[in-house]
Amino acid sequence: MAEPILSIEDLRVEFDRSEDKVYAVNGVSFQIDPGQALGIVGESGSGKSVTLMSALGLIRENGKVKSGVVQFEGKNLLKMSSRQLEDIRGREIGVIFQDPMTSLNPVMSIGDQIMETMLTHHYAGHREAFDRTIQLLHEMGIPDPKARFKNYPHEFSGGMRQRIMIAIALACEPQLLIADEPTTALDVTVQMQILALLQSQRERKNMSVAIITHDFGVATNFCDKIVVLYAGQVMEMADTSAFIQNPAHPYTLGLKNSIIEVGQRGRKLEPIPGMAPTLTEPPTSCSFADRCPFVTDRCREELPKLRSVESNHLVACHRAEEVLARAN
């Protein structure tokens, strides 16, 4: 197996607040293999974006990476100077964000914003960058790219803006694309268009993709491997098929049961009680214990380690085997 393109080991991130600290990421580890599509799934506050954004130095000032290693092409991103990191962002790793309405600079034409990526990294000269921008816009399915080059973001619809975001992220043909909730703000029909676009681009360029999402439908249909985060920790990590068929963590199981799908009228709902905690202290026991139907005394005392239950299937739960048995 080839070296992973990005590997995160024991990452810890804290945020300072006026009166306390929030432990947003508490020892997260996972890898993305070349050409792989990884889904990072979790609810709000689970640390799913913070994990990747902190690796790229894109979190707010009050956030601090406390420990961990983020290996990208054999180098630790966390040890890099901000200048070295700038050379990687946009060139080796492209990023797309959730809200296409606010993620584009409102006073810069979209063409200039796409070109800026290439010019910053000396990826192309002015002339080539312009040609490539037109070509990218065309590839992204934006009609009449030459005329629209000079338009500003507010002159586009949400779906079109997300296409422009993708063009920006892909301008320098990065090896890894990080998409942070790329379709959450969009209508379903447009979501489908954007996902199809991402998929075709990924196949054509043999690019690795990490999709951060709260939507199991997006993750399971798009990704090869899925990581489930809760309270800043990896709860479960598995290939998509194992994930769909044998979820081994009570939280994953609960989440899957929480999703209402078409054709489920009359199904009995079994909500997970309670809500996700905001950790103001580092976790010392299972963070899910309070909401877990499988909870035992051990769960409230001992922090479960991420361990392997099947090949390529890691779970952080003391009672994973029982969960597996029940699901089957």
């Binding site: 609810e43 029909t189 489908m192 199809a196 399971t220 249909n221 098929s241 929480s258 078409v262 809500m275």
Partner: protein, 318 residues
């Protein structure tokens, strides 16, 4: 056909004027809801579903058409007479924080609803606040909290409690769960379901999530650019989607596959929802419709019966 519906909406239209341009938010919509049932309104952003919900409650005034609530024509009812009626028809919002005064504690907010209608004494209202909070699954001390101190899910429960405090017959649920996390969504849906069962509530459930609407609703109307394109009982709509737009919507849902090999293909329709300021001619869906013909481009379709209680507004039917 229901004989004595709680809500009857007939040929209702609403236009907005925005900087001199006219926007057809809702065009010629009709439906009826029987007491104790849930009527689902689905559509993407800009489809007019929220406007329609507000028209039913007379939070907005319709330009045309008639709205009957509990046998009473409320279309032109003056505010003075409408206000007491509001006890019977309530709304819960997508963003509960925006719908509450940031300067009022939760307890005051719920109490205020009862105070407006002079329900009970001060003591009995206070007691009722505790009961309501318990009913929606919150501890009573949250009544001392301010809205910004609570989470989205908790606030949505408060919104429900406030609506319930008036013992309404009808609740318009305007995207009540779309801003919430998956696990919290189910909690709220579960709560809504229980309340309907226990209190015989009638819901108008507005959402863009088809699965949730299907799950909760007895009858569903699909809206596109302010027009109902298809309307049917939930089972029929999903079993036999007759309007191309409904079909597209259904295909756009990403179901969790059985295993990766049975994944959905990312098939999609071209284009986005056109500007409501200048909607396409003929059938408003024709620019995106895979089956569009010349008729669709020029003539406006009328609603046709697919079945006795299943209607779709498409030239290709029948």
């Amino acid at each position: 056909m229901p004989t004595n519906p709680l809500v009857k909406v007939e040929n209702v239209s609403k236009r907005f004027r925005v900087r001199g341009r006219e926007l057809h938010a809702v065009s010629n919509v009709s439906f009826e809801i029987e007491a104790g049932k849930t009527f689902g309104l689905v559509g993407e952003s800009g489809s007019g579903k929220s406007t329609l919900g507000r028209l039913v409650l007379r939070l907005l005034d319709a330009n045309e058409g008639r709205i009957t609530f509990n046998g009473k024509d409320i279309t032109n009812l003056p505010n003075r007479q409408l206000r007491p009626l509001r006890q019977e028809m309530q709304i819960i919002f997508q963003d509960p924080q925006a719908s509450m005064s940031p300067r009022m504690t939760i307890g005051r907010a719920i109490e205020d609803a009862m105070e407006i209608h002079k329900i009970g004494t001060k003591q009995s209202r206070r007691k009722r606040v505790d009961e309501l909070l318990e009913r929606v699954g919150l501890p009573s001390f949250v009544k001392y909290a301010f809205p910004h101190e609570l989470s989205g899910g908790q606030l949505q429960r408060i919104g429900i409690a406030r609506a319930l405090s008036l013992n309404p017959k009808l609740i318009v649920c305007d995207e009540p769960v779309s801003a919430l996390d998956v696990s919290i969504q189910v909690q709220v849906i579960h709560l809504l379901q229980e309340l309907q069962r226990d209190l015989n509530l009638t819901y108008i459930f507005i959402a863009h999530n088809l699965a949730v609407v299907e799950y909760l609703s007895d009858e569903i109307a699909v809206l596109y650019l302010g027009e109902v394109v298809e309307q049917a009982p939930a089972e029929k709509l999903f079993k036999n989607p007759s309007h191309p737009y409904t079909q597209v919507l259904l295909q756009s849902i990403l179901k969790i596959p059985e295993d990766p090999s049975s994944r959905q293909k990312m098939t999609h329709i071209q284009g986005e929802i056109p500007s409501p300021f200048n909607p396409p001619s003929g059938c408003t869906f024709h620019p995106r419709c895979p089956f569009a013909t010349d008729v669709c481009r020029t003539q406006k379709p009328v609603a046709k019966h697919v079945d006795d209680d299943h209607k779709a507004t498409c030239h290709l039917i029948g």
